[in-house]
């Protein structure tokens, strides 16, 4: 899997370059993966299909996603599977409404001839059309190409081709879905991403917790730890295949780094007390965390290169859940120094501490949006829990989700979608279910994220590099 990831690493970078520069050329990569910007039929300079997602309650765009055409049955299956994943990704975003394929008039084979018969797609009310093909390359790899068409302007909006090993078709589908999302909305997608979370099983009084990882749509699920040690609050490195989290390994609760590729777990630092609530800095070079000792909890940062630790807060209170701003210049955290947990922001060096939350109740677990404009948090008020967002200056607070218990917000890398978990008590109160959900930043489109067992503490990866 890792080798395959490496093969796809460059196409994404290439895609972004192409989209920003508008260049059209073929890139040949050392590892053998190839992507091509397909020749544009007509001008793509002024396509009309666009979703403005800066406003709330977007009307989903009808889009026709055809099966990717292939000459052979095995590739034909891959072509259908790719179309299915693209369709599911786009539908789940709430911004697209895939047209029922039963309504399609023009078939996949005739779409290979050149320009689609746009009238056939207009009549079924598709505004955008996705066509594609899967071909064997002879070297064991597949060539997967797609084109996105503006049905009303009768123009190709974008088109790309990827070379990949067959097992990697799912990632190619997510990358294509991201390309479509970006072309139509103007913002980066988030489909080629993964979720690390805590898988929960067993009764309330003997809960087993395991580190688990999956694609953002729940596929490719696997457990990373065996459940012998209690593990909590995993978070992705922004730059490497690593997770920082907390483990009760040897009954000593400490912050660790876990390497996804090797499965190796490494203790972070030699602290005289419990370390917890870890997060990477945006450049991936530091981990910020809390140290609890003698009833006091303060915030520390460790430089992963020098292993040098710096204490950032020094109070008798509980200072925890630290999270960097995306530019790394500031840290938001929660503290009960004022009597109850509230949100505070300080400079990355620990200075200029100021409180930003002033509503009723308690504010916990702040997480800065990758876009920098908002901070998500958990609020406890009147016996209910909610997930909300607030601007870093303390204005514009909004509630996105409210439940008996909800917490653990994490942002999609484009800052458009949040994931969190909800706990629900059984009728007699003696059992719990824990589930992952996503919700749009506008508070619309709540979706359950499928997991094999109960799930908590999700963390969204950056776009896979």
């Amino acid at each position: 899997m890792e080798r395959h990831d490496a093969q796809l690493r460059s196409p994404r970078r290439g895609l972004n370059q192409i989209l920003t520069r508008g260049a059209r050329h073929l890139a040949q990569l050392a590892v053998g993966a190839v992507f091509t910007v397909l020749t544009v039929v007509g001008s793509s300079a002024r396509a009309e299909v666009h979703i403005d997602i800066t406003h709330g309650n977007v009307q989903p765009m009808p889009i026709a996603i055809t099966n990717f055409f292939a000459d052979t049955s095995s590739e034909g299956q891959v072509g259908r599977d790719i179309a299915g994943v693209i369709s599911a990704d786009l539908e789940r975003s709430g911004l697209f409404k895939p047209v029922d394929p039963h309504a399609f008039i023009q078939d996949a084979a005739s779409l290979q001839a050149g320009t689609p018969r746009f009238a056939d797609w207009r009549v079924i009310n598709a505004q955008a059309l996705v066509t594609g093909a899967v071909r064997p390359k002879g070297d064991g790899q597949l060539s997967v190409e797609f084109r996105l068409w503006d049905v009303f302007a009768e123009q190709q909006m974008t088109g790309l081709a990827y070379a990949t090993i067959p097992n990697n078709w799912r990632r190619v589908a997510h990358i294509i879905a991201d390309a479509i999302y970006k072309r139509v909305t103007g913002e980066d997608g988030y489909f080629d991403t993964r979720i690390v979370y805590i898988s929960e099983s067993g009764p309330m009084l003997a809960r087993k917790k395991r580190l688990a990882i999956m694609d953002q749509d729940g596929e490719n699920h696997r457990f990373l730890t065996d459940g012998n040690d209690l593990v909590l609050t995993p978070r992705f490195s922004p730059t490497s295949q690593e997770i920082t989290y907390m483990s009760y390994f040897r009954n000593t609760p400490r912050v660790y780094i876990f390497n996804i590729d090797t499965g190796r777990q490494e203790l972070l630092g030699d602290f005289p007390g419990m370390t917890f609530a870890p997060r990477f800095s945006p450049d991936g070079n530091r981990v910020i965390m809390s140290l609890a000792q003698n009833g006091r909890t303060n915030i520390y940062v460790m430089d992963l290169r020098t292993r040098h630790t710096t204490q950032l807060t020094n109070t008798n209170a509980i200072d925890t859940a630290p999270c960097y701003s995306p530019d790394g210049s500031q840290i938001v955290f929660e503290s009960d120094r004022g009597g109850s947990p509230q949100l505070y922001i300080m400079d990355a060096g620990g200075g200029n501490v100021h409180r930003i939350s002033y509503g009723a109740g308690r504010y916990d677990g702040p997480v800065w949006s990758p876009r920098g404009d908002l901070i998500a948090f958990t609020r406890e008020n009147g016996g209910r829990f909610s997930i909300g967002v607030i601007r870093p200056d303390g204005t514009g607070e909004r509630t996105l989700d409210e439940a008996f218990h909800t917490e653990g917000a994490t942002w999609a890398p484009n800052g458009r979608v949040l994931m969190f978990f909800r706990e629900t008590a059984s009728a007699d109160g003696r059992a719990r279910s824990a589930r992952l959900y996503t919700i749009d930043l506008t508070g619309t489109n709540p979706r359950r994220v499928p997991t094999p067992l109960d799930a908590s503490d999700p963390a969204w990866s950056p776009l896979i590099p």
Binding site: P203, L230, L232, T233, A292, G295, I318, G365, G408
Partner: protein, 164 residues
């Protein structure tokens, strides 16, 4: 080890004898702790054992919501714990701090540590060597009682002294 077995046998015999007075149980180190000694006779618990501590002393104290201060009741329990620990001087303990489920994961980890430290500090103030006491917080991860009501939460907001 040998003494433990011996004292256990003594306790069993005493229970079997029912009417016998607890004149001499033969247990090591229990002299001078009348409560532990007499308890052994009434419920068959070995003095100095973890069970003795749980049953006859009380291994846990409870806290108010988001609180870590010790109530008079908690202090009384910890006074008994201190007396017991002064009697059984070779025993080391782990003080566990726990929170109820009505809080977020990370805050509750810190809160559990604060509670465990409150218990430890009290025992140290009562003359127990700090090197015999370690603390650990489980936050809200290890409830003692299942349930979503104040009665369950009140029992889960606790500090538990566990014999190592």
């Amino acid at each position: 080890m040998y003494l433990k077995v011996l004292s256990l046998m003594a306790a069993v015999m005493l229970v079997a004898a029912c009417e016998t007075k607890p004149a001499d149980t033969g247990s090591a180190g229990s002299a001078g702790n009348s409560s532990a000694t007499s308890a052994a006779t009434t419920n068959g618990v070995t003095p100095g054992s973890a069970q003795d501590f749980q049953v006859n002393v009380g291994d846990r104290v409870f806290f108010g919501f988001d609180k870590s201060d010790l109530s008079p009741e908690a202090r009384a329990t910890l006074d008994r714990q201190a007396t017991w620990l002064q009697t059984y001087r070779s025993v080391t303990v782990t003080v566990e701090g726990h929170a109820d489920e009505r809080g977020t994961r990370e805050y509750n980890l810190a809160l559990g540590e604060r509670r465990a430290s409150a218990v430890k500090n009290y025992l140290v103030a009562r003359g127990i060597d700090g090197s015999r006491l370690t603390t650990i917080s489980y936050g809200k991860e290890r409830p003692a009682v299942a349930g979503s009501n104040e009665a369950a939460w009140a029992q889960n907001r606790r500090g538990v002294t566990v014999i190592n």
